[in-house]
Amino acid sequence: MRIVVCVKQVPGTHDAKIDPETKRIIREGIKAVINPFDTYALEAAVQIKEKHGGEVIVTTMGPPRAVTVLREGITVGADRGVLLSDRAFGGSDTWATSYALAKAVEKIGDVDLVICGKQAIDGDTAQVGPGIAAHLGWPQATYVMDVADITKQEIRAKRMHEDGWDLCSIKLPAVITVVKDINQPRVPTLKGRLAAEEKEIPTWSAEDIGADPVLIGLNGSPTRVVETNPPAGRDKKSVVLNGTAQENVRRLLQELRQRSLV
């Protein structure tokens, strides 16, 4: 079983603050981290490998410094990493990103399963996983909360929906994207850290993966961000209820009834 895990480097928000003036996240001094959802993808891959054998390859498309998230992947059990980095990838939207990642999966070769996180916390699009599947022409399962079984031919995955779940059997090779329910990511061991430090991680350019220059980066991105704005502020006069419990409840009900909310 050869599994590729796609991880993204995102700005960490652990101690992020919102600028009260601009309503934007203050990014200065915020360090980049692995997209939290991708840690579940990594854990899922490593668990499958531990049970069924094979190899886990972690990959990311990003600037050279994104190599740190690949090392992080190796500390928790990935066997090796591949960094996709090239100025030509700059400005990629989800179409172009999923194309580049699909080309990398082709170049890695003999891949049975690609695992992505449910979504990246900076873009929040959840499009790259299904995009990779579509570029490769593979089936997919998104929002996977449980891998019930996997063989060389098929994977049985439980998909989460708003109204419950369904269990599906998908022919391999395939792409899945995972949600937090699927597992509890392990903590890295010292041995893992050492392995990660020593590991040679190759960087592949657009040419290395045989990407069509027209389909990557800005060229290959059908969408353009034309404008960004802070969200409309809340025009509010807030009310603080500071009395006894009885008083507070009475005032609260008043506030709700005035607005016909109860």
Partner: protein, 338 residues
């Protein structure tokens, strides 16, 4: 499907809404999208089409017309009883090639977000996820798609100038449905799926519909959410009681979910769901940034906390200072079960 000359662009017409079907029923979000599509179609002087892939759905076309559709394009097929995204994407892509819509809207639900990215790749067009605002550029007729990025801290406006159709998923409960007009009529086009268009790579083995816990936070009008301040699962039973009385859904902070007091699908925030309720009522949640990004665009925010200085108490429209174990039971007493 690159259409960057004005002649090819002109071939792409009409605004499509891809219906959200669950258990054979067309969902509310579809009608919200029809409402949004009507104003776009008016600006573009074109029609609103609703595309329905499902089983036993043809009879529901009437209500689509009442909700604003001019055309219902229906593929009613047993194999669409369950959600097989690859097959639906194939069929949708084929319909797009055949009819050439200018704009395609779909709900930003687990199903919509699985289906539409495949269509975007194969049809080679741009897709903007989770839009909360849509407009038409008066200069060139392009669709202007506005969406929150970075968990709602930035609103980005996105355009896909050279590609048609322009695809967008739209968050539930953001657009307004029209008042149903039972005198509105429309055209029904029934398409059948030709053999060979299915690849059979996925089979649905089992479906579980969670009716007891069926909470669709994204769809809820009233959300009662609890955090670490609730101290345990009993606290959440109290919230559930309150939620039932206001016909609301129960939400939770990650601290409450991680403690095992409520299942993950109640979690609101960066690693949970983003919600847009009319009322968000937070009980014993301090409101760390990862929580706020999931709920700060709710219309009316109420918070109860012993500590008046928490971020959520600062953000709230009504901040109730006090012990939630006194306030909630008192509130429950005042609200009859209906």
């Amino acid at each position: 499907m690159i259409a960057n000359t004005n002649e090819t662009r002109a071939e792409y017409q009409h605004v499509w809404v891809v219906a959200e079907v669950m258990g054979g029923e067309i969902q509310k979000v579809t009608y919200e999208l029809l409402g949004a599509a009507r104003s776009l179609a008016e600006a573009r002087k074109s029609e609103v089409w609703c595309v329905v892939l499902g089983h036993g759905v043809t009879a529901q076309s009437e209500s689509l017309f009442h909700g604003g559709a001019d055309v219902a394009l229906v593929v009613d097929d047993e194999d669409f009883a369950e959600f097989v995204d690859e097959d639906q994407a194939d069929v949708l892509t084929r319909l797009i090639r055949e009819h050439k819509p200018e704009i395609v809207l779909c709900g930003a639900t687990t199903r919509g977000r699985a289906l539409i990215p495949r269509v975007a790749v194969v049809a080679n067009c741009g897709l903007t996820a989770d839009c909360t605002e849509l407009g038409i550029d008066p200069e060139n007729g392009d669709l202007l798609q506005t969406r929150p990025a970075f968990g709602g801290n930035i609103m980005a406006t996105i355009r896909s100038a050279d590609h048609r159709p322009q695809l967008a998923t739209v968050r539930p409960r953001v657009m307004n449905e029209l008042e149903p007009d039972t005198s509105r009529k429309g055209r029904l086009i029934e398409e059948s799926v030709r053999p060979g268009e299915r690849n059979g790579l996925k089979k649905i083995l089992e479906v579980f519909t969670d009716t007891e816990n069926a909470i669709n936070l994204a769809d809820a009008r009233f959300i009662i959410a609890g955090g670490r301040g609730l101290r345990g699962p009993e606290g959440f039973r109290m919230l559930k009681d309150l939620a039932e009385r206001v016909h609301g859904a129960v939400g939770a902070s990650r601290a409450a979910v991680d403690s095992g007091w409520v299942p993950y699908y109640h979690q609101v925030g960066q690693t949970g769901q983003t919600v847009q309720a009319t009322v968000y009522f937070a009980c014993g949640i301090s409101g760390q940034i990862q929580h706020l990004v999931g709920m700060q665009s709710c219309d009316f925010i109420i918070a109860i906390d012993k500590n008046p200085d928490t971020p959520l108490m600062q953000l709230a429209d009504v901040a109730v200072v006090g012990d939630l174990f006194e306030i909630i039971p008192a509130l429950i007493k005042e609200l009859p079960k209906t």
